[in-house]
């Protein structure tokens, strides 16, 4: 691996590494607009210009400079600073400076770099070039061509990531602007990324439009629960209200992208379909009453006719806890996991990010099933129900009844979940669980990567985190798994289940870890409706 020198700091990077990345590794921030780690090099913003000390000469753009032995650059010489200042001046020449109404304010690179590298005094006495403003270019996007600095990130995104290529540069000279063909609209499912990658306010999101100034938002790293892909996200929220999800870079999962369905996933946090209170036989009840009633109901039936259903929408911790509760208190009861596709809910599946399986933790539930061969799958459960062996179902976040339909007539159901569905509506006892944004835990994505979710919001209503709800149910039955918090639950889980062996929340960090197993789980065939 070549060793390059940046501002006198020597650093070893893989051959071909871009100097912006190399500098970042060495701890130097090279300002840039057009460069994006997951897009091709355009080199047109000229902001990343650096001075070559050795292995070349003059000023070169860092984004088009590849690490090679003997290369030494400076990112802080007076000349480099002058170039940045001048480039900023040029960029702002025709920029409308409508920061007050621009949603990008606060996360705009023009602002940031201006403060850092700008000239601070205007020399502009000439009129600015006017361009198209406020154009409706897609279901989720607004385009303001005046703010555009023609970095062409969005063009390259359209060419290289989605392959749709709607956005283009039109005209030339300082009339260059981004736009789409008249009558066309951006219709792919990754529009939000265009607003994300736009370093200025040219492309902004309609969903977030004028909702909040970004500097008010708190950010919590989490994982998207919209499908099995498990895109890394950042939950942007303020005072208990989520305003948007943003993708978080994780090269192993989602690079820098996420789909629009996932991006709008926060809208169901406060939806009418949330379960906020415990219900017993259709009547609202205190949570403690609900748990007592559930325990009593479980004790009142023959243990062998009870089936516990692990949820593919529940965290690993909760599934493990439910399994432990079942094994410790009702050893004769059956434990099942269901793959749980919701057929038809999402039809669009591509080779980019979206998965047909809309459950974020299928692989986690499956890893548990692999650990304990006695855990049956959805087919086994359907069998058992049809044969009438099951008199009582304990369901964690799963719409079992929705799939079994009338086969499960007469089966008493205890539902632990956050959203109303067929199962929750028909259940005898419903206990409210939190939305993933309201709890700590882990999900295992389709590729078997265990990733943290973090609590961003206070729990709505009486809801409790999945694992805690199960824990309390276990305690009411006699023996809970004995976790005090999510981290402990995960630690116990890691100590017991080989696939998670040795993992801790600290190890998972921001990017997660793959399950420990000889080979990764195969991806499911896309768009194939799964059997319940």
């Amino acid at each position: 691996m070549p060793i390059v020198k940046i501002n006198g700091v020597e650093i070893e990077v893989p051959a071909g590494t871009n100097m912006i990345d190399a500098a970042a590794k060495a701890g130097f921030d090279i300002p840039h607009y057009c460069y994006h780690p997951h897009l091709s090099i355009a080199g047109n913003c000229r902001m990343c210009t650096c001075e070559i000390e050795a292995g070349g000469r003059g000023l070169e753009i860092a984004c088009n400079m590849q690490a090679r032995d003997g290369l030494a650059i400076r990112t802080d010489s007076p000349q480099v600073k002058a170039v940045r200042r001048n480039v900023m001046e040029f960029l702002l020449k025709n920029h409308p400076l409508d920061c007050p109404i621009c949603d990008q304010s606060g996360e705009c690179r023009l602002q940031d770099y201006y403060m850092e590298h700008g000239q601070y005094e205007s020399r502009l006495a000439d009129p600015k070039v006017g361009k198209h403003k406020r154009m409706d270019i897609g279901d989720h996007l607004v385009l303001d061509a005046e703010r555009c600095i023609a970095c062409s990130r969005c063009v390259r995104f359209g060419d290289e990531v989605t392959g749709t290529g709607e956005l283009r540069l039109f005209n030339r000279t300082d009339h260059t602007e981004i736009g789409i063909f008249p009558g066309e609209r951006i219709s792919h499912a990754y529009q939000g990324n265009l607003a994300d990658i736009c370093p200025v306010g040219a492309i902004t999101s309609k969903d977030f439009r004028f909702e909040k100034r970004v500097w008010y938002l708190d950010e919590t790293d989490s994982v998207c629960t919209g499908c099995a892909t498990g895109c890394n996200i950042r939950v942007c929220h303020q005072q208990g209200q989520v305003f948007r999800y943003m993708p978080r870079r994780n090269d192993a999962v989602n690079k820098s992208w996420m789909c629009d369905h996932g991006r709008l996933g926060w809208q169901d946090i406060a939806s009418l379909r949330r379960v906020l209170r415990a219900r017993i036989d259709g009547k609202q009840a205190e949570l403690s009453e609900g748990i007592r009633a559930a325990a009593a109901a479980l004790r009142g039936v023959d243990a062998s006719s009870v089936a516990f259903v692990l949820g593919t929408r529940a965290t690993n911790e909760a599934n493990w806890a439910l399994w432990k509760v079942a094994r410790a208190n009702l050893p004769q009861a059956g434990v099942y996991w269901c793959q749980g596709n919701d057929p038809g809910a999402w039809s669009q599946v591509d080779d980019l990010l979206m998965d047909a399986d809309k459950n974020p933790n299928r692989a986690g539930a499956r890893a548990l099933a692999d650990h304990d061969a006695a855990i049956g799958d959805g087919t086994d459960l359907a069998h058992a129900v049809r044969e009438g062996k099951v008199r009582m179902l304990v369901v964690l976040h799963d719409d079992v009844l929705g799939r079994l339909e009338d086969a499960a007539e007469g089966v008493a159901v205890l539902h632990l979940g956050s959203q109303r569905n067929t199962t929750a509506d028909k259940a005898r006892i419903v206990l409210p669980a939190t939305h993933p944004t309201e709890q700590d835990g882990t999900f295992t994505n389709r590729a078997g990567r265990v990733q943290r979710i973090r609590r961003a919001l206070p729990a709505a209503g009486d809801a409790l985190p999945d694992w805690q709800l199960v824990e309390l149910l276990g305690a009411a039955l006699g023996k809970g798994p004995g976790a005090r918090d999510a981290a402990t639950a995960f630690k116990l889980l890691a100590g017991e289940v080989k696939a998670f062996a040795g993992m801790t929340y600290k190890d998972l960090g921001g990017g997660g870890l793959p399950l420990r197993q000889p080979e990764p789980l195969p991806s499911p065939p896309p768009a194939q409706p799964a059997a319940p």
Partner: protein, 435 residues
């Protein structure tokens, strides 16, 4: 100056019907090709290299050396090699290629085939600027004749060499004269320059190795292959052998294209070939190599000879593409610079920041200056902008736009400051009256 003025490139010019295959062959066309077909490609390259031929497009890079940059076949990974002839003649002040093709299309075709053979290309494209529709028609006609005669296409003259030559018409973009932009345009994209590295010789059109040569260069190649490197070296100067077509325009009696050996004194070009200035006029300034090179003062003109080194030594300017624009004392230099900047502001491809925003900005300042509405501070901003654009862009266009501004402001500051209503400030010329 009594130097021989051999007609190498213009040999067949003026002969009636020289554009037809029959007349051209009568006057020696395609003899070089026949000779080249007998040579190994490497030998052709060696001859060209030995001749010291430098690219006539403006940069003056040795052509033979450029050809050697094409990766050998085993390193190409099966990618083809392309030859592209740059006939996108759009530098203001330059108009030679049009006459080259118009008068002697077969010499270009011959050159293309020879060069293509040298670099191993199977296809050569002649990129003509969009306005040269009628030139393209004549070239296409010549090509058709040559193709019919087996001089172009598959199995040329039974040698087993395949070289197809196609014309490609641009559509009015100065920037397409820049080689990477030309390749973008050839690929059917916006004619925006590409990042270097990789250089076109390594990764050019369709990401394959591509050699881009000027029309005049390829025609010179024809002559070199026919007559040998030594004959070519005998003409011109040591560092810049051969002849060059000079496109003379502006306030002179006899504008036009003149073929002269390199190293010809500039003053004689002006006074003898061009017929001197119009009666009663005196020389104010000369732009020696197309609009984008720095301007020269009369004193510099008197000392310079027409070759790459001398011009640069004497005035810091460049020979460029040989567009020799003469301005006499009637010329308003502020207006002239505004005129040039309007050209650059109009032609910037809009890709990278300094040139995209800077050219328009410089033009608007110059417009105000021309109209007497600018101040001294504006002139300083203008110079700063030019400095900030120069060599900070993807392609050479930025420098092309900046150099006139820099040189006009440096060499003729009186006119500009007078327009702002002030004298030249003391700090403007830092002891640099060295010129």
């Amino acid at each position: 100056m009594d130097v021989p003025k051999p007609r190498i490139l213009t040999a067949r010019w003026g002969i009636p019907g020289s554009h037809t295959l029959a007349v051209a062959q009568e006057h020696g066309a395609y003899t070089a090709l026949r000779k080249a077909l007998t040579m190994a490609p490497a030998d052709i390259t060696a001859v060209v290299k030995a001749s010291g031929l430098r690219g006539r497009g403006g940069a003056g890079f040795p052509t033979g050396t450029k050809w050697t940059f094409v990766p050998p076949e085993e390193k190409r990974g099966g990618k083809p090699v392309y030859l592209v002839c740059n006939a996108d003649e759009s530098e203001p002040g330059t108009f030679k290629d049009r006459y080259c093709i118009w008068n002697d299309p077969h010499m270009l075709i011959e050159g293309c085939v020879i060069a293509a053979r040298a670099i191993g290309a199977k296809v050569a494209y002649i990129y003509l600027r969009g306005e040269f529709k009628y030139v393209k028609d004549r070239l296409d006609q010549a090509l058709a004749e040559a193709r019919a005669a087996g001089l172009v296409g598959k199995n040329i003259l039974g040698s087993g060499v395949d070289v197809d030559v196609w014309t490609h018409q641009g559509a009015g973009a100065y920037i397409c004269g820049e080689e990477t932009a030309l390749l973008s345009s050839l690929e059917g994209e916006r004619g925006q320059p590409k990042l270097k590295p990789p250089f076109p010789a390594v990764e050019g059109a369709w990401r394959s190795p591509t050699i881009v040569n000027n029309v005049e260069t390829l025609q010179a190649v024809t002559w070199i292959v026919e007559h040998g490197a030594d004959a070519y070296k005998a003409i011109g100067t040591e560092k810049a052998p051969g002849t060059k077509l000079f496109c003379c325009s502006g306030n002179i009696r006899k504008p036009g294209v003149y073929e002269l050996p390199l190293g010809y004194p500039m003053m004689e070009l002006l006074n003898d070939e061009c017929g001197g200035l119009l009666p009663g006029r005196s020389l104010k300034a000369v732009i020696p190599g197309g609009s984008s090179v720095p301007i020269m003062t009369p004193a510099e003109v008197a000392r310079a000879t027409m070759d790459y080194e001398s011009i640069n030594e004497v005035s810091g300017s460049y020979l460029g593409s040989g567009g020799f624009i003469v301005m006499d004392d009637r010329t308003d230099l502020v207006d002239a610079l505004a005129n040039l900047l309007r050209f650059y502001a109009h032609e910037s491809c809009g890709q990278c920041t300094p040139c995209r925003e800077g050219c328009g900005w410089m033009y608007s300042i110059l417009t105000r200056l021309r109209d007497g509405e600018a101040t001294e501070a504006d002139i300083r901003v203008l110079r700063d902008l030019a400095n900030n654009i120069h060599s900070r862009t993807i392609c050479f266009f930025g420098a092309s736009a900046a150099m006139p501004v820099q040189s006009f402001l440096k060499k003729f500051p009186e006119e500009f400051f007078a327009r702002a209503g002030v004298g030249v400030p003391d700090d403007w010329r830092p002891a640099a009256s060295a010129k």
